[in-house]
């Protein structure tokens, strides 16, 4: 039972951080596409900004990994 709960928690950590990352990237992607359309020279900066929210899912993964370590 305890193992099942921990497994669920680990999955929840990854799923929630994944959803948040997707939402943030969608907003940044839309605005970034607009900025690049008008000013192509901003592309490198936009790519960096687009990648930033991926740290969120990395945190989720680390938390999930720590939870799995307790199993």
């Amino acid at each position: 039972m305890n193992t099942a709960l921990l497994g669920f928690d680990a999955a929840f950590a990854v799923a929630l951080s994944g959803l948040c990352t997707a939402w943030a990237q969608s907003r940044i992607g839309a605005a970034g596409a607009g900025a690049i359309a008008e000013k192509p020279e901003t592309a490198p900066m936009i790519i960096v900004l687009e990648a930033l929210p991926e740290t969120i899912i990395l945190f989720g993964f680390v938390i999930a990994f720590l939870i799995i370590g307790k199993m």
């Binding site: 839309a30 605005a31 607009g34």
Partner: protein, 352 residues
């Protein structure tokens, strides 16, 4: 319901905003000797391609003006393409203001028998009515021809004009036709702006502020013409932002323009009216008050650049800033063409 996401459009508009000319460019242009120097200066702006294309076709003055019109029109069309449907409907409502302005320009031109080219050069490069439609309307021999053609093409503005045409033909008073257009536009617009979203509220704010200032100008003009209060009321528009119908009726009772300025002293428009009134007393030109009130509208609407960055405030502010820029450029090149002193040209510009 999820809030509409204007992230893509706003990012593009923000980038387009960075291409607007700043005050220093206008200062440089004011110091230039002639149109050819201004043409060279425009080479470094977003107007470059359109202006050069039109100058080759139509010569320096007309070419620059046509180039500015073409570039602005293309800019506005681009905005309508990149925003979502709901925002597009709202922006089209706002652009209707320039349709009314352009139709008034055509009617005024026909009223005084102006040449087609002069009418067309005075049209604003904005609005939902296509350039070719406006050109065809400007080609009509008289006001009746313009209204008949509008009715044939089912342009909605033909309804109020057709209703007033009989009166116009009797007394040749253009203000009735113009007022019927204003009334039709503002009533229809306010009826469409129902809902509580931030975007709708923003557009409503812009429209109702304009109604207030139109009413103030109407009251000032009619009070100077010594019209009876009940006659003045016929030319007032309902639905203002700060001045409701009750206060408008009270203001219509005021018999003297000086007293009207005093009566409006404590309203939000008091300060700007006082300034305009002082300028009028010095220059004797009533148009300076009108220009001062227009400045107020332009400044307030361009200030929307600082409003909620996730709403369509940015788009509204950009449209006003762009059209103000084109008007400024046209004033500048017209002034340079007739060798007007830089100081006088600067006074006519609205640099926000």
């Amino acid at each position: 319901m999820l809030k509409a996401d204007h992230g893509y459009a706003n990012a593009r508009v923000r980038a387009m905003k960075s291409r607007l000319l700043d005050q220093s460019v206008f200062e440089k242009m004011l110091g230039m000797k002639d149109l050819s120097e201004i043409l060279t200066a425009l080479d470094k702006t977003s107007y470059r391609n359109e202006v050069h294309e039109e100058v080759l076709k139509a010569g320096l003055l007309v070419g620059i003006e046509e180039g500015l019109r073409a570039a602005t029109s293309a800019d506005l069309q681009k905005i309508l393409k990149i925003i979502d449907l709901e925002a597009k409907n709202l922006i089209e409502v706002l652009l209707g203001r320039w349709d009314v302005q352009n139709l008034k320009t055509i009617l005024r031109g026909k009223h005084i028998g102006a040449a087609k080219a002069d009418i067309i050069s005075s049209l604003a490069p904005a609005g939902c009515l296509h350039d070719s439609v406006l050109q065809e309307l400007a080609e009509q021999p008289d006001i009746r021809g313009v209204i008949d053609l509008m009715a044939t093409w089912s342009i909605p503005y033909s309804k109020p004009l057709t209703a007033e045409l009989g009166k116009y033909q009797q007394n040749l008073a253009l203000q009735n036709l113009e007022f019927s257009l204003d009334k039709f536009y503002y009533q229809n617009t306010l009826a469409r702006l129902t809902g509580r979203s931030l975007d709708i509220q923003l557009v409503r704010e812009v429209i109702t502020r304009e109604i207030d200032l139109t009413n103030i100008m109407t009251l000032l003009r009619l009070t100077r013409e010594n019209l009876a209060p009940e006659e003045k009321e016929k030319y007032l528009l309902a639905g203002g932002r700060r001045l409701n119908w009750g206060s408008l009726v009270k203001l219509a009772q005021v018999q003297d323009a000086d007293d009207l300025i005093v009566a409006l002293e404590k309203s939000v428009y008091g300060k700007v009216l006082q300034e305009g009134w002082q300028l009028f007393l010095v220059s004797g030109k009533f148009s300076v008050i009108e220009r001062r009130l227009e400045n107020q509208v332009i400044t307030k609407n361009i200030a929307l650049f600082r409003a909620d960055p996730l709403s369509i405030a940015l788009v509204i502010a950009y449209i006003w800033a762009k059209l103000n820029e084109v008007v400024n450029l046209r004033i500048l090149i017209r002034g340079k063409e007739v060798d007007m002193p830089a100081k006088m040209i600067r006074q006519a510009l609205v640099l926000v």
